[in-house]
Every structure is written in structure tokens, then in C-alpha cells.
């Protein structure tokens, strides 16, 4: 075994372990902030696996999109609503955990079976390496044009939705309840930071 291949093997084992353990941590840890940070770690490890497959453009895109945008957004959301409160106990929590564990185990065995029964072409196609950027661009503008454009429409819809939700002051009535909306909705639901103004 040459130095290069053994390095690759070590990297592969380490990254796979990081992905598996990190993903388990995301699901099982009680602290949601740790889960979010671990999710970032999982995304980074997946990017490392892409690098091992000689797909450097996909790896960089993975980091930019998933770590730099998605994960930061999740962290933002968690930190902006970082309430320290104990949630009410859910009835039948033990049973729920057993059920969801059973579903996950079933899914896992199914995937394992698929992985072992499928006749994989073991050497696989040769990686295109640095050409990948060009090839991805060609595909995006030819046979994958429609999905690409649809995804952009979806993103636009999400963005407009977010703006509508965030800027309730442009509506006189709440979208959901139909009640008249006061601009200070968000501030009033909490204790005011400043003393309220007394009318003279």
C-alpha cells in the first residue's frame, strides 16, 4: 500500500466516523445549540468526503452553502430565540422514543440490505477532477436547466414569504388570525426594556 492510498484510507475512516458520530450527536444531544454546531461539523466532514472523491468544486460549494449559509441561519434562529425554559413533559415519552428508535432501526436495516445486495461497479467511473466545474456548468444550462430554474423560483417564493412574515407592519390585519396588527407586536409580547412613556 502506498503512502497516498493509506492516507486516503485513514482520511476516509476518520471522516466517516465524524459524519456518523456527529449525526448521532445532532439527533441525541439535549442541548439544541450543540446540535446545531455538530450539524456544521457533519456538513464539513461531508465536504471532506467530497474532497476525497476528487470533487473539489462540490466540496467548496457544500461548505459555502451548507456551512456558511444554512448552518449559520440555523444558529442565528436558535440564538435570537434563546429562551431558557423547561418544556412541559410530553406524555408517553418513553414509548415515543422506543417507536421512533424502532422506525430508525428498520430504515437502517433496509438501507444496509440495499447497500449489500446492490451490485456496485466497484472501481467506479474515473473522477473528472478539475474539469468538474465546467461539466456542472454545462449540465446546469442544458439538461438540468428546468430543475435549476424551478429551484430559483422556490427560493424566490421562500424569500418573499420571509419578507411578508417579517414585515407585518405593511398589513393592517394579521395574515393568520385576521386581528388588527399593531406594529409593536413583537416588543409588546415581552417585558419592555425601557419604562413605558406616561402620557402627560
Amino acid at each position: 500500500m502506498t503512502i497516498a492510498s493509506s492516507t486516503q484510507l485513514i482520511c476516509f475512516v476518520a471522516l466517516s466516523a465524524a459524519v456518523a458520530i456527529g449525526a448521532l450527536g445532532v439527533v441525541l444531544l439535549p442541548n439544541i445549540v450543540y446540535s446545531a454546531f455538530l450539524l456544521g461539523g457533519v456538513f464539513l466532514s461531508v465536504a471532506g468526503l467530497y474532497l476525497l472523491l476528487n470533487a473539489s468544486f462540490v466540496a467548496a460549494a457544500q461548505i459555502l452553502v451548507y456551512v456558511g449559509a444554512v448552518n449559520v441561519l440555523i444558529l442565528f434562529a436558535i440564538m435570537l430565540v434563546n429562551k431558557q425554559e423547561n418544556l412541559a413533559a410530553i406524555p408517553g415519552l418513553g414509548l415515543r422514543r422506543v417507536l421512533s428508535g424502532a422506525v430508525c432501526a428498520g430504515l437502517f436495516t433496509l438501507l444496509l440490505r440495499v447497500a449489500f445486495t446492490t451490485p456496485w461497479a466497484t472501481p467506479g467511473p474515473t473522477p473528472v477532477g478539475e474539469e468538474a466545474t465546467l461539466r456542472i456548468g454545462e449540465h446546469l444550462f442544458s439538461d438540468y436547466l428546468l430543475p435549476f430554474e424551478l429551484a430559483s423560483v422556490l427560493l424566490l417564493m421562500a424569500m418573499i414569504g420571509a419578507i411578508v412574515l417579517a414585515r407585518r407592519d405593511v398589513f393592517s390585519a394579521d395574515v393568520a388570525t385576521g386581528e388588527p396588527v399593531d406594529q409593536g407586536l413583537i416588543e409588546k409580547s415581552r417585558t419592555p426594556l425601557l419604562l413605558e412613556k406616561t402620557n402627560p
Binding site: I3, S56, I63, G68, L80, G129
Partner: protein, 384 residues
């Protein structure tokens, strides 16, 4: 990278100095296998770049102190070494010997991991900074895109530090840092995209190669003046330099996400921000100021002396000139950044976000569109 002595430079390399090839040839001549020689070579450029980055920070700190003193009509450090040149060393040593404090109710693990996550991507980005045709750690095909994606990891470290400190100033600073770096990433990437479109490649070496030929006249700054300004503003915002140092605005947030940090962990933030500044300046010089290119075409000067371009001595001289030019351009930009820091006031958070989203983003989009149009209209000038 340059690390071996010029004596091992082998002649006959048409594409400039290639020290790796020379190094492995010498070792193989001593009876070593090619794999082992490559393995021995690998850590050298990495170590060298690490040392270069840290020395760059020391120079930067000294410049910051001296230039700020000059701006404020003081003398600045003068007792530690000639002209206070050892002052950054003293600063670093002081930070090294300080007590490492983790606040009692802070989250110890995340508190330690935060500064590391801020520093590592910045140092990793030096992978793609070229000092010459073969004088870089790795000419990866995704080059400049790698830097953009790596710099998007940094906000996570900042958020982590801000959250783990268990301090409202820290959390606010961390959130501000992340918001700022996300908002300015987009115009930055669009400005880079315009340059990439002209050079038909993401690789930093190809981007510089596309700017050689006519010396100073072929630099991208003449073809991308708007992009240059956008990139420089966004780079300053990404480095959290004044006028964009809101995440650590002293008057409002004590020191932002750095408030609870002391000793070496604080030093990691400090190091990270200065390495990032040098890196941004280097990338501006790569993207817009011709990288290692001399203001006059080197081939033309060499032609005047009557030497062949691939003579060993000429190669060593051109490589040295390249490194000197890259560093010179970068430090000229660092000088402007420092001068800006001590001249202009800080913007407010709403002004910052307005500038990013309502001004830089549309201008960057228009710049991209105009570049695309010009590329179609004048393929000879704008890289067909």
C-alpha cells in the same frame, strides 16, 4: 514555495521556478524513493506559509502602531528595538504569558473551540495565495472559490465564541459579526465572479497569468475599477476593520465577542483578524493588481539584457521580484487599511447593512452584467 536554497534550482523549466521538482530531484539523487521525497517536501511550504503569515502579522501590528501614532501626531513605540520594531514581539509574549481565563458560567468547550474555528479557515486560505508561477502551496482548480467558501466558516466560530461567553455583549457582537460577514460575502463573491469571468478560471495562478503581458496596463484594476472598490470595501468589512468594526464596537459592546477572552485565546482572535487583513490585501493584489507581476513586463526587461528567460539566474531574480511585488502591493493596501482605520469614524449597524444590501449588492450585480456584456463585445480585451 521558496524554501530551498537557490543552489538547487535546476535550469530548463519554462514555467518559472519550480522548487518542488528541484527538491525531489535532489533527494532522489541521494537515493530516496519519489514518495518519500514528496512526503518530506509536503510540510516545508506549509510551515513556511505559516511562518510567513505570522511574521506578516507582526509587521502589520508594528505598522498599525506606527501609522496610528503618525496619524495622531505621536511617536509610537520606540524603546523595544530600533523604531519599536520589537514591540509586536513584546505584545505577543505578553499575551502568551497571561492567565487563560474561562468565565465560571461560560461553556468551556465552545469557548475554547470558537477562536480556533475563527483562525483555522483563515490560515487554510493561504493555500491558494500565489507568490509566483509555482510559488504557492497548491494550485487547486477551484482556487479563489475555496477562499470564499472557507471564509464562510468564520461566522460559525464567531457565533460560537459569542454564545459560549454567556455575556450579552459577546452574544450581540457574535450575531453582528455573523450578520455582517454574511451580508458582505455576497457582493464580494459577485465582484470576484466578474474577475473569474474575464480570466475563464477560478485558479489564482490563471487569474494572475491573464493579467500579465503589458505590465501595469494589463492589470485588472483598469478593467474592473468598480469591482476593485466593491471588493476592497467588502474585504474590509469581512476583516471587521474600521469603519466596519461593529462587532467589537468599544463604545457599545465593550469588545463584542472578544469581551470575555484573555491570554492566548484572545491572541488567536487578534492573530486571525490580522492574518485575514494581510490575506485580503494579498488577494486584492492577486485579483486586481497583477499579483506577482512587475509594472513593466518582465519578459521585455529580460529581453533587453539579452539573457534567455529560463536561465537559472534570471529565474531566481524574476521569482524574487515576484515575491517582492506581491508583498509590496499587499502591504501598500494594508497601509491604506490602517490609514482608513485611524481616519474615518465607525458606521452604524443600519448604515452598514444598507450599504451592503442596498448599494453594494446592486452595484456588484450591474458590474457583473456589464462585464459579461463587455466580454461578449470586446473578447480581446475582456478575456474571450
Amino acid at each position: 514555495m521558496v524554501s530551498a536554497t537557490p543552489a538547487v534550482v535546476s535550469p530548463g523549466l519554462s514555467s518559472g521556478l519550480d522548487l518542488e521538482a528541484s527538491f525531489t530531484t535532489v533527494l532522489e539523487g541521494l537515493g530516496m524513493s519519489p514518495g518519500a521525497a514528496h512526503l518530506l517536501w509536503l510540510p516545508l511550504p506549509m510551515l513556511l506559509v505559516l511562518v510567513a503569515a505570522v511574521v506578516g502579522v507582526l509587521v502589520n501590528v508594528w505598522l498599525e502602531r506606527k501609522i496610528s501614532a503618525a496619524v495622531q501626531q505621536r511617536i509610537g513605540p520606540e524603546y523595544a528595538g530600533a523604531l519599536g520594531i520589537l514591540q509586536p514581539m513584546a505584545d505577543g509574549l505578553k499575551l502568551l504569558f497571561k492567565e487563560d481565563i474561562i468565565p465560571a458560567r461560560a461553556d468551556g468547550l465552545l469557548f475554547t473551540l470558537g477562536p480556533v474555528l475563527v483562525l483555522v479557515p483563515v490560515i487554510l486560505s493561504w493555500l491558494v495565495v500565489p507568490f509566483g508561477q509555482n510559488l504557492l502551496i497548491s494550485n487547486v482548480g477551484v482556487g479563489i472559490f475555496l477562499w470564499i467558501s472557507l471564509s464562510s466558516i468564520q461566522p460559525i466560530g464567531l457565533l460560537m465564541a459569542g454564545y459560549a461567553s454567556n455575556n450579552k455583549y459577546s452574544l450581540l457582537g457574535g450575531l453582528r459579526a455573523a450578520a455582517q460577514s454574511i451580508s458582505y460575502e455576497i457582493p464580494l463573491a459577485l465582484a470576484v465572479l466578474a474577475v473569474v469571468m474575464m480570466s475563464n478560471s477560478l485558479s489564482t495562478v490563471d487569474i494572475v497569468d491573464q493579467q500579465t503581458g503589458a505590465g501595469i496596463l494589463s492589470w485588472n484594476i483598469w478593467r474592473q475599477p468598480v469591482g476593485f472598490v466593491i471588493f476592497w470595501i467588502c474585504a474590509l468589512a469581512e476583516c471587521e476593520r474600521l469603519p466596519f468594526d461593529l462587532p467589537e464596537a468599544e463604545e457599545e459592546l465593550v469588545a463584542g465577542y472578544q469581551t470575555e477572552y484573555a491570554g492566548m485565546k484572545f491572541a488567536l482572535f487578534y492573530l486571525g483578524s490580522y492574518i485575514n487583513l494581510v490575506l485580503s490585501a494579498l488577494l486584492v493584489s492577486v485579483l486586481y493588481l497583477g499579483g506577482w507581476g512587475f509594472p513593466l513586463p518582465v519578459e521585455w526587461i529580460v529581453g533587453l539584457t539579452g539573457q534567455p528567460i529560463d536561465a537559472p539566474l534570471v529565474q531566481v531574480i524574476t521569482a524574487t521580484t515576484g515575491i517582492v511585488m506581491t508583498v509590496l502591493k499587499a502591504y501598500l493596501l494594508v497601509f491604506f487599511a490602517i490609514l482608513l482605520r485611524w481616519t474615518v469614524p465607525r458606521v452604524r449597524i443600519d448604515q452598514l447593512l444598507d450599504l451592503g444590501w442596498k448599494f453594494l449588492l446592486p452595484v456588484a450585480l450591474v458590474n457583473l452584467l456589464v462585464t459579461a456584456g463587455l466580454k461578449l463585445a470586446f473578447p480581446a480585451i475582456f478575456g474571450g
